[in-house]
């Protein structure tokens, strides 16, 4: 076999692009240069593996015609510059030639002409987006994490249109969620006619000491008659019991009406068998499923009483009833806006249509059609016809809106859905929606919607101003809690289980603190407009007492997080935070491979291809662990040329972090002796420890390019197209390297054609 020729990082997309033909990025002069200089260079140094019948990595460079595919050229430049290609074992080109080719590729002009904006599959709201949207639509706090299943992930994010499916089980949950949200958003109760739930002979249950008989529950000794029901909300309820007693002794029979959470209310049951009576109390009850009981609390038995009618006191419960809630729930702002202040306004069809239109305009994130409003108004009429209130009907209409495809999906349409060449601007409302879900993971607010209604949003200045405004809004924290948490794979922290025998200090509190550190850190860099460099190399972080101890930092007490300066050298930036160090480790040991892979995937956006089939895993037997350090074993692994081309770089990055143990604490020794934190890059450069790793990661603008690409994928919910990638290259070129801010990148993305435009789909 040819040795060491597996190229890395040339992903399938780029390869497909070559085969599919290309438009040619270079101008005519460049074609000449390509023929004169580049083609011979490739032929001499690359074709042995990358041409002919068996091409390495499916990359046939002999098919790279004049001009050349920009994606492939970019990859060639990267590989050459890093001296990853040709592989070490192969003859190496003179440095001057390499420099000339790299410089030429760098000098290629941008192709800024009309580009293909691509298309985005209609996107179902993710769980996070659903929660935020109902909060912003109708002010209801909905626990989506508990009530909806997690969304599938593609491309590292859970908001990818093609990946978000809608199986029946999920739709069931959407319907239940809609009913829940609508019942809380709309006050439709009539305290004068509250719902009543009765437990009678058939449905009453009895505790010990009580037994069911033909009229209800009979209690000949202390006991309870009870039923269980769900109280729809916190509020006041009337508890009623119909009972009588066989009286005896000095006092009347007594029952305590009890609901958990409220204090017992005692009533005297003076009634007797031939005339049972209804006793009623009022109680505040918290929402939820609770037991409602009538307890017989003063049993009396004196068998030797001379008066036979005074010997035994017994209690009989015929039914228990709960009516309510009977207190008036305040009407929320959402309902006031829907229904207006005029309570005298006739609750007729015209009004129903008006209300329905208001619901749909907001819920569908665009003006509703007359048809849509009319269909929702039908539900109001139907409710009224069945004897329910107008408000109950509005609740039904809102329920319907919340399960409508126009709400559950972010719909974008094309004038010619079947024509892939028909590119066009998004409608103003579609653009507003893309922007708000990108920055807020939620629906547009009124300002954004009204700008869309005026047709102003496509104006670049307005778009930029809105973007800046929205980034300053509190809702932009979604960029941390939704975007960054997924980008940095922080959710996986929930599932890691470091071996408790080796790492007794790790527990759920520390797990939570780790995550919070990273979230607060990202938020600070974003909100304070700090340079992107800070993500990788910062002189501060956030810790509470727990994490400070873990890090060996003095002077932080309590649960509150504090911003602390970091001494130079060890920690600083995302990849040295305990969260990321832990989620890239195995339960019993560090994994330089996983750490290196994380850096390649999430920091540099150069994902390594998956390992080829049949490669051996690391020998982890006790004998092997004893005989050789992890580093030695990995070195053996890399000596296999199948593995070397990827692992050389990956492992080097990970080794530099070996001073951090599997839960991210600093260590000077590991299982096999003093820590050796030196990794060697393919070009022979050594990285010794985290400080030098930071220097390597911040040496060029790869991180800016990576972050921009992650943001684009998240914003569009699809993989970047070729034209997207070129636009990203242009964007990064226009930025001041890692001195750029998060806002700079976001502004660049919302200006891209891929963000503002779309096209139809081929067959």
């Amino acid at each position: 076999m040819r040795v060491g020729v597996v190229s890395i990082g040339l992903c399938g997309v780029a390869v497909a692009a070559i085969v599919a033909g290309h438009r040619g990025a270079a101008a005519d002069g460049n074609d000449d240069v390509f023929r004169r200089d580049v083609a011979p260079f490739l032929a001499r140094w690359c074709f042995e593996c990358h041409s002919g019948e068996t091409v390495e990595n499916d990359l046939d460079l002999s098919k790279l015609g004049a001009g050349g595919d920009p994606d492939v050229l970019r990859e060639i430049r990267t590989k050459l510059r890093r001296r990853e290609m040709p592989p070490k074992e192969a003859p190496q080109p003179p440095a001057a030639d390499v420099a000339r080719i790299v410089a030429w590729i760098d000098s290629l002009p941008d192709d800024a002409g009309a580009s293909d904006p691509g298309r985005v599959t209609i996107r179902r709201l993710s769980r996070t987006e659903y929660r935020n949207t109902v909060r912003d639509l109708c002010g209801v706090d909905f626990d989506a994490e508990a009530r909806l299943p997690p969304d599938d992930v593609g491309l590292g994010f859970d908001n990818i249109g093609d990946v978000l499916t809608l199986p029946p089980v999920l739709f069931e949950k959407y319907l239940a969620a809609a009913e829940f949200v609508a019942s809380r958003a709309i006050v439709a109760e009539d305290p004068a006619r509250p719902p009543v739930r009765r437990f009678d002979r058939d449905s009453l249950q009895s505790s010990r000491g009580a037994r069911r008989d033909k009229t209800g529950v009979a209690m000949f000794s202390p006991g309870e008659a009870f039923g269980e029901m769900t109280f729809p909300r916190d509020g006041e309820y009337l508890l009623r019991v119909r009972a009588f007693a066989q009286q005896a002794g000095p006092e009347p029979a007594r029952i305590a009406l009890r609901v958990p959470g409220a204090s017992d209310q005692v009533v005297d049951v003076t009634a007797v068998a031939k005339s049972p009576e209804i006793y009623e109390v009022r109680a505040r009850v918290a929402a939820g499923r609770r037991r409602v009981a009538a307890a017989f609390i003063n049993d009396y038995y004196k068998p030797d009483d001379p008066d036979p009618t005074q010997r035994d006191r017994n209690l009989f419960v015929q039914w228990i009833e709960v009516a309510g809630p009977v207190d008036v729930r305040p009407v929320g702002e959402f309902q006031r806006e829907l229904l207006g202040d005029d309570s005298k306004r006739p609750r007729d069809r015209a009004f129903a249509i008006e209300v329905a239109r208001r619901i749909a305009n907001r819920a569908y994130r665009r003006p509703a059609t007359a048809d849509e409003a009319s269909r929702l108004a039908d539900l109001v009429a139907e409710a009224q016809k069945s004897g329910a209130s107008f408000e109950r009907g509005v609740e039904a209409a809102l329920t319907a809106a919340l399960v409508s495809p126009s709400f559950l999906f972010r719909v974008e349409t094309d004038p010619s859905p079947g024509d892939p060449n028909a590119a066009h601007d998004l409608t103003e409302f579609e653009l507003a929606t893309r922007l708000s879900y990108f920055l807020w993971s939620s629906m547009p607010d009124r300002e954004l919607s009204s700008l869309a209604a005026k047709g102003a949003l496509h104006d670049p200045d307005v778009l930029a101003a809105q973007t800046r405004r929205m980034l300053r809004d509190a809702r932009a924290s979604a960029l941390v809690t939704n975007f960054a948490v997924q980008w940095l794979e922080l959710r996986r922290l929930d599932d890691v289980a470091p071996d408790p025998a080796r790492f007794p200090e790790f527990d759920d509190a520390l797990r939570a603190s780790m995550r919070q550190e990273t979230e607060m850190f990202v938020e600070a860099v974003v909100r304070e407009g700090r340079p992107l460099r800070d993500f990788l190399d910062a002189d501060f972080t956030f810790v509470d007492a727990r994490l400070a101890k873990h890090y060996g930092l003095a002077g932080v007490k309590g649960d509150r997080f504090e911003r602390v300066p970091l001494p130079r050298g060890r920690r600083g930036g995302l990849v040295t935070q305990a969260s990321i160090l832990t989620l890239t480790s195995n339960p019993t040991r560090t994994s330089p491979v996983k750490r290196g892979k994380f850096i390649l995937e999430e920091i540099l956006a150069e994902p390594p291809p998956p390992p080829p089939p049949g490669v051996g895993a690391l020998d982890e037997s006790a004998a092997a662990t004893k005989a050789a350090s992890l580093k030695e074993r990995l070195a053996r692994h890399r000596s296999d040329p199948n593995c070397a081309s990827c692992h050389t770089r990956m492992d080097a990055l990970g080794f530099a972090l070996e001073n951090f143990d599997p839960v991210g604490a600093w260590r000077e020794r590991d299982e096999s002796g003093p820590v050796d934190a030196v990794g060697t890059l393919p070009d022979g450069r050594a990285i010794d420890g985290p400080a030098q790793l930071r220097a390597v990661l911040t040496a060029d603008d790869a991180f800016a390019r990576c972050l921009a690409e992650k943001l684009l994928v998240y914003a569009l919910g699809r993989a970047p197209t070729r034209d997207d990638r070129r636009a990203l290259d242009r964007l990064v070129k226009s930025l001041p390297g890692l001195d750029a801010t998060f806002e700079d990148v976001v502004l660049g993305i919302v200006r891209m054609d891929g963000f503002r435009r779309r096209r139809g789909e081929g067959k």
Binding site: R119, I122, P149, S386, T413
Partner: protein, 448 residues
């Protein structure tokens, strides 16, 4: 902890998990009237259990063919049910192989396990594999039950990062596929699963209120259908496919509401309490999910269930077995005896869960037979040796008699590379689903 165990299960047997209890009444008491009225034949039921990362085969495969007299270490917990179990050796899952797609055996094996199809390699767009055998069966067995099928698991789909070598997480996390592009999605929260089965907590509604609410739901769904149809006219082909999922889901829900209205009250057994949520303890979680399967079958709420004990490729740590390492990590044991020992302990632990399920099913009466007599429980993995990732010589067993149509109590060795789908085709036959072919089947598995 009280659990379902054969002899101890009585009418008031209480199943506990995370502080919740489900009481199991006798099935007879629960059988919906229409069943007593007599379907021509006693209903048959299918259950599929799937475990990740393969099995340590030397401790799984019985030495001799024929009667199951000596059980290997991993299968030992099945000793009390040896007469109800058949171990089928030599089956293969070709769909799990790479077919030129490179690594990703975990994702492929899960996606292929019940579909027999070779999944399309994609990280997201255009998932494609095939309809799974449980869903094909549910098309028939689910015609009259409240729910066509039940899908359970213990681990949600991964919510960030990559799952397996360029394959979408949907492949590793789902074995049941409703269409070739739509996993049915599984329930991991026992409380949510319970609510789906039995209609949630008693809301205290009167029958009239419930009827009114059902009517309103139908009206709401009518609006949804209208809107979706209208919207579909304006969309391109991919978007239309997404909307088809929506339409299918709405129609399915309409059918459920229809059935619930017709059949009256939910068959929730008296005294059954909702589970509290996801237990922190994995063993308890597995136990309560098995309990739910039994409950669903006994109440005839459904006749088809699938249960993915852990997502394929799961790196869960089994500290309570003395295995603090990640399952996937050590499944690449490289022949190391210490690791093999850990792997077989995990394998055996999973089989213990199966044994519990079988115990409960065999002591549950189903008319004049036991629930297990009427059912087939398929247990196995789409990977054989986790270290090699091979998809032949799979660990597969079938428990139960499926209404007298199976003859368990033996170990059968089939010709190497016999498609696993031949087993499925043979099972489909026995539940009156006539198919010429399923997945890569080459015939009907004989001798079961």
């Amino acid at each position: 902890m009280n659990v379902i165990r054969g002899v101890r299960l009585s009418r008031r047997a209480v199943l506990r998990g995370a502080g919740a209890a489900i009481a199991l009444p006798l099935l007879d008491a629960m059988v919906p009237a229409r069943l007593l009225a007599g379907e021509p034949e006693a209903p048959r039921r299918l259950v599929f259990l799937c475990v990740p990362n393969g099995v340590h085969m030397p401790d799984w495969t019985p030495k001799a063919e024929g009667a199951l007299t000596e059980l290997p270490f991993v299968l030992e917990p099945l000793a009390p049910h040896a007469k109800e179990v058949q171990v089928l050796t030599g089956l293969a899952l070709d769909g799990g192989r790479d077919h030129g797609d490179g690594p990703g055996d975990h994702a492929r094996s899960a996606a292929s396990f019940l579909t027999g199809a070779h999944p399309k390699k994609t990280a997201g767009a255009d998932l494609r594999v095939g309809v799974s055998v449980d869903q094909v069966a549910a098309g028939k067995l689910g015609e009259t039950t409240r729910m066509p099928s039940l899908e359970l698991g213990c681990e949600p789909s991964m919510t960030s990062g990559q799952c397996d070598s360029g394959y979408s997480c949907a492949y590793s996390a789902n074995v049941s596929w409703r269409s070739e592009s739509l996993p049915t999605s599984k329930e991991v929260d026992p409380r949510a699963a319970f609510d789906r089965l039995f209609g949630g907590p008693d809301s205290g509604e009167t029958p009239e209120e419930r009827a009114r609410r059902a009517a309103l739901r139908r009206s709401v769904l009518d609006v949804s259908l209208d809107e979706a149809k209208r919207l579909a006219l304006r969309l391109g082909p991919t978007d239309k496919r997404k909307l088809d999922e929506y339409l299918d889901a709405v129609r399915e829900l309409e059918r459920r509401i229809e059935r619930a209205t017709k059949d009256g009250d939910s068959p929730l057994p008296e005294g059954a309490a909702r589970p509290a949520g996801v237990p922190g303890d994995y063993a308890a979680h597995l136990g309560i999910m098995c309990d739910l399967i039994v409950l669903a079958l006994r109440t005839d709420t459904t006749r088809v269930a699938t249960f993915l004990l852990a997502n394929e490729g799961s790196n869960r740590s089994y500290g309570f077995l003395g295995v603090p390492d990640g399952h996937h990590e050590i499944s690449h044991h490289g022949g190391d005896a210490g690791k093999e020992e850990k792997i077989r302990r995990i394998n055996r632990f999973h089989v213990e869960q199966l044994a519990r399920l079988l115990a409960a099913m065999s002591s549950a009466k189903d008319g004049d037979a036991s629930l297990l007599d009427r059912s087939a429980v398929v247990y196995g993995s789409g990977i054989s040796d986790g270290n090699r990732h091979n998809h032949d010589d799979l660990p597969i067993l079938v428990a139960g008699r499926l209404g007298g149509s199976l003859s368990p109590g033996k170990h059968v060795r089939y010709a190497s590379q016999t498609p696993l789908c031949n087993l499925y085709l043979a099972l489909l036959d026995r539940v009156n689903v006539r198919a010429q072919k399923f997945g890569d089947s080459s015939g009907r598995l004989a001798g079961i």
